[in-house]
């Protein structure tokens, strides 16, 4: 029995977004979309999170912060880049201070384009990420099993 897909807790980080996508992310929590129907909770604490939702592009100021947040999330975890800035840097791609999308700092699992990304597409992206989360859990479990089998063999 796997519970991970039924209870994804989200950490939302605004890298350098204009707040357009952030408002849409928060709109998912409102009565109209109500993502808590799927057990999704916006938790605001990396140590409790499963899904890392990032909006906006990467610059030198937030690179260290975003890596730190990513490292603090316990495995298994997935990263969802929300909005065109987070997926590729968007219109800011050529800016002197932007190094590109979120994947220039941490590995990204799901890209949700849009400016701003619609709540429907954000929810769709997060639901897709749950499949990847489940794969990662199975892989983690497999790794743990081979590890214990290895120690028993010794």
């Amino acid at each position: 029995m796997t519970y991970l897909k039924r209870s994804p807790w989200i950490l939302h980080y605004d890298a350098s977004s204009c707040n357009g996508c952030d408002i849409e992310v928060l709109a998912c929590l409102t009565p109209l979309y109500d993502v808590e129907r799927f057990g999704i909770v916006n938790c605001g604490n990396p140590k409790h999170a499963d899904v890392f939702v990032v909006t906006g592009g990467i610059n030198e100021q937030n690179k260290a912060v975003i890596r730190n947040l990513y490292d603090q999330i316990p495995d298994p975890k997935v990263v969802v880049a929300v909005g065109i800035c987070a997926t590729s840097g968007g219109v800011f791609r050529e800016c002197y201070n932007i190094s590109g999308g979120i994947d220039t700092a941490i590995p990204v699992d799901v890209y949700v384009p849009g400016c701003a990304a619609r709540p429907e597409s954000i929810i769709d992206g997060i639901v897709q990420s749950l499949g990847i989360l489940e794969e990662k859990r199975a892989k983690m479990l497999g790794r743990k099993r081979t590890k214990t089998a290895g120690t028993e063999g010794r």
Partner: protein, 287 residues
């Protein structure tokens, strides 16, 4: 007989506590005009937490989280076995001290603030809980839960003030607004997660299960006030819990100063005055 009660509590309390938490989330969502999560969502959450990696700052966090759960189980089991109410309250407080120690062990500013707030909450609710036990002794002449529960006296009629005071501190204990200072169930940020900030995976799951045990124990405590009639007691428990959900959704979080002051004023005004009146009416003799 009484040992079986304790065993039934140990086995069933997590299921009842989880279901109550599920109903709580559903009712809360409906109050906010949302559909809300499935009824079994709290079980999915805890199941998920046990599937996650357990990250700790220091290994002692594991010990403290487990101790919190074990001592919560012990205090609840003692209560349902009909043991000494004072011993139950001391074990109950001790379990929270383990939670505070676990938060202090993690060397994180958010945890520290949560731990300090948890201590302040203990200071705030402890007098009222002791007064409740003393009040029940004055009515039934016994500190033993079994004898209090078996008495045919309608305790609520003798202790209405104590009961209202107990409801006030119950809000603190159920971690509901306006008194959810040290940690909260709502999807809020940083400081509000307080003591649980640095607990991950299975440790957080254990803390959640301990909270379910705690809630069932506290609802059992309400039962004592109405123990003369089981239907009335069950109705009272349901009404009290729905009232707590309403209060949770109506009020915003207050400061720790206000929490401490209001809890103590309530304990003094409703609790002590109730006990004094009871003492006076019984002509200086304990009832």
């Amino acid at each position: 007989m009484l040992v079986t009660h304790a065993l039934i509590y140990l086995l069933l309390a997590p299921f009842i506590g989880g279901l109550v938490a599920g109903i709580d989330r559903k009712v809360t969502a409906r109050m906010q005009g949302r559909a809300g999560p499935p009824l079994l969502q709290p079980f999915y959450d805890v199941g998920k937490l046990f599937e996650k990696e357990n990250l700790v700052v220091t290994a002692s966090q594991n010990v403290y989280a487990l101790s919190y759960l074990v001592f919560m189980m012990v205090s609840g089991a003692l209560f349902f076995a009909g043991g000494d109410l004072l011993l139950v309250i001391f074990a109950f407080t001790l379990s929270h001290i383990f939670l505070v120690l676990g938060a202090y062990a993690s060397c994180s500013p958010y945890s520290f603030i949560g731990a300090e707030r948890e201590l302040l909450q203990i200071i705030a609710y402890e007098p009222m809980i002791i007064i409740s036990a003393v009040g029940m002794y004055m009515v039934t002449r016994s500190f033993f839960v079994a004898e209090i529960a078996a008495s045919s006296v309608p305790i609520i009629l003798y202790l209405p003030g104590v009961f209202l005071g107990f409801l006030t501190v119950l809000t603190i204990k159920l971690r509901k607004s306006p008194f959810d200072l040290s940690t909260s169930h709502h999807a809020h940020q940083e400081i509000v997660k307080g003591v649980t900030t640095e607990f991950t995976g299975s440790n957080l799951g254990k803390i959640e299960i301990a909270h379910w045990y705690e809630n069932v124990f506290l609802l059992g405590f309400i039962f004592l006030f109405f123990s003369f009639s089981i239907p009335v007691a069950v109705a009272a428990i349901i009404i009290v819990y729905l009232l707590e959900i309403l209060v949770d959704n109506t009020f915003s979080r207050v400061t720790w100063q206000f929490t401490l002051r209001s809890a103590w004023i309530v304990a003094g005004m409703l609790g002590l005055v109730n006990l004094a009146v009871l003492y006076y009416l019984s002509g200086g003799f304990l009832v």
